[in-house]
Symmetry: C3
Subunit: 352 residues, 3 copies
Amino acid sequence: MPQQISQISGALATRLNAVIIGDDALSIDNFTTPEFATFSSMVWADSPVNLATSLNSPAAAILTTPMLANSVVTDKTLLLTDNLPQALFNAATAFHWQPEYAPTIHPTAIVDATAALGKGIHIGPGVTIGAHCILGDHLAILAGTRVGNGCAIGSNTILHANVSVYDHVTIGANCVLHSGCVIGAEGFGYVPTPKGLAPVPHLGTVIIGDYVDVGANSCIDRAKLGATIIGSGTKIDNLVHIGHNVNIGRSCIIVAQAGLAGTVTVGDGVMIAGQAGIADHVTIGSGARVAAQAGVIGDVMAGDTVSGYPARPHRVKMRELGAITSLPAALKRLKHLETLVQQLQQKRNHDE
Amino acid sequence: MPQQISQISGALATRLNAVIIGDDALSIDNFTTPEFATFSSMVWADSPVNLATSLNSPAAAILTTPMLANSVVTDKTLLLTDNLPQALFNAATAFHWQPEYAPTIHPTAIVDATAALGKGIHIGPGVTIGAHCILGDHLAILAGTRVGNGCAIGSNTILHANVSVYDHVTIGANCVLHSGCVIGAEGFGYVPTPKGLAPVPHLGTVIIGDYVDVGANSCIDRAKLGATIIGSGTKIDNLVHIGHNVNIGRSCIIVAQAGLAGTVTVGDGVMIAGQAGIADHVTIGSGARVAAQAGVIGDVMAGDTVSGYPARPHRVKMRELGAITSLPAALKRLKHLETLVQQLQQKRNHDE
Amino acid sequence: MPQQISQISGALATRLNAVIIGDDALSIDNFTTPEFATFSSMVWADSPVNLATSLNSPAAAILTTPMLANSVVTDKTLLLTDNLPQALFNAATAFHWQPEYAPTIHPTAIVDATAALGKGIHIGPGVTIGAHCILGDHLAILAGTRVGNGCAIGSNTILHANVSVYDHVTIGANCVLHSGCVIGAEGFGYVPTPKGLAPVPHLGTVIIGDYVDVGANSCIDRAKLGATIIGSGTKIDNLVHIGHNVNIGRSCIIVAQAGLAGTVTVGDGVMIAGQAGIADHVTIGSGARVAAQAGVIGDVMAGDTVSGYPARPHRVKMRELGAITSLPAALKRLKHLETLVQQLQQKRNHDE
């Protein structure tokens, strides 16, 4: 298990805005789940079942709510809060041990002589940095990552191992690019010619703002003209595809395996769930939400929630899904009704 | 074509539990398809069409069934079995030539002095191994693969080229990790704050059992607390996403481009087909089957087969799909019925 | 921004088959979008809105149509053409500056002594080339790319950084393989045994034709027997999965995140859109089109367009989608009709 920062139970309770019942001088070595707990661990519980599991674990302390802990008798130390989600976040932050990247350039790294390097930079084994790159202070580029020519990368940004950044890409400060992601490959565009499909030249690039995270093995293609843009604060999960000339606003969340085709425009604060696909040239308004696996082929208004294929307002889609559920029975009712009406007609005809 | 291990036709027939008709002293150099066959190849056929193609190829021998070969007149040697699938597997195993990884550490590899190395280890060019790693016997880590600090990797495991393993990950024995896969990146979790989306610290790790295969460019994220767990014998295809705190049982099959969101629990022997998505916190019971492209948003009972979005029992879904197929016609019938009923009403009103 | 090749406005207009209005001796440094334009840029516009934006930008020249420019009064130089898409392609080609890969082998590259190297080859830092490889003239293999043993790669082909090519793979001439793609990993096939899932040995390989592009982080698995084949001129986007023994024809387009399961056969000139999935052993005829997110579980005839899951002819699917839209209302109409018929029956019964 990764190293954590030990906490004293009383001070931790204060930090978590929690009431402590039991020993306030406990040294807690780590915050974990019951199955990995030791006698110096803290665990947490948000249900009676989880609390029972926690009580049966070796853990010294349990973070939970006053209501759940109400009738509990235990030797373990309890930290109680009504705002468990916030306390979980704060506890994780307290115990979190950040590896420090030493300010060194590994002798096996190949850094072009024309690159401008900021202060306190960490460059790992086998990294390559192209000509005329500008690298900010205190950034870390881990083993095997490739940065092309003419790239700019902001301060405190981390490029994990085996990342590939093509030429002339700009990446902001305080970003995290996970292993295997590829930034700036030529977009996918071809024109039919008598000699086959000819690639459209890509003259543009990729510009990534500050505080952007890019997940493992995600791909962001360069623009045909201008730039593919990822706004500051936007978070991209693993295996996401961002096509050429996409323009994404600030503080968006794009979940794993989603795909945005070329020239998609996304506002601020948009949530695109896993495996969703957005067709080319579509605009998604700020604050909109796209459900998992949705296939969006038309514009989405700001604030709307869409789902399904083709994606439409979620409440409409849910009504349709409900209707489909009752469809097999409805078809039988229709058949029955046809028989009844036929009988009525026959009787009527008989009358006439 | 890759090298294969030559076989003598008679001994091969014995190994495949097949009846041989023709030359039992043939030296067969390789087992291939008709289009790549030479005069020293064996091919196979499971249909009259494939048998005709095989007979027209240069191949010296054909593996097929007695029924298909019944009326065939040929100079080629025939190996006949009623259990063709088993014979195919056995033949592939017989001809399969495994590359041996020499027990050497390439001089360009960067292995931390604190790493504990087992016997007969192969470490390729440019590989990096972090501090305090524990590597089992006879494992192979190919060119450009990155292993972080504090990782444990079991005996006989193969990490192909350009794999990225983050710090403190545990990988069992006899595993195969294909190129480009990423193990242990921080999971995707953020909390909104006044200053934007703050990442949830990930204190946990990834634990992979024995005999696990991970496909090319697949991603397995580390846990927030505790561990993301992949049970022994589970096989993961290419471009699969496994989110933080996912817990997968033994001997599961997860096909290409499937995605499991955070905290999904999967039992033993589960089959998740290609491009399927499982929403966070869902539990999939042992032996269940999730169809391709299914979107699972609720728990799946052990042994059930589900499909569609939202995923439901496959037979229900199939009935719905059938109903939808007849829906355009049903709407016309409904319209017609409305006309008939209106006519009946008018006549009735006229009577009254 | 990436470097571009400067153009003189008059000569450029001739090359684009455009009428020039304004200065035909302008030196235009780059072709870009209004937001990135400088006083020496050319931009383009295909709508009144875009034209207004272009006119408000610092750009010196605008490429647009005679109709859009009809009533415009401007100091900027205008290049006018009725075939804007063709002119855009030609303009991008004119300005496009191709980086040249110097004919050098980086001293940190590990090239096996038995590899046969063509003329003018570029091999970047940390690249590994296995035994008995045959590399064509003027190809470029960028930093950190791994080429296994016994591979053949044709002339002028580019392998971008961090590509992984397994043993015995054949890649044609004039191909582009983007970063992170993985060619030749073992396919995904297992047989159940009493001791768990046993992998099916993969004796085959991958053969890629000429002028094939493979997108970033895409995966093409090797065959069980024979070869997985990608026909010449076929273009594959990012994060695509191509299973073992797939056989793809010439000049196909396979868009991002599509997945082809094992032994799929695809004709020539097929278009498979983003996130579509093709089930194993399916055949797709030449010229067919598979819509985005479609799930193809049966053969598709040449020239057909299919969509949805399970994929069926697009016009049938569209009719179904329309029918589903009207389904909630139809169910109400059905309910109403049942009431009416019941009333008619009651009256009728009363009569009798």
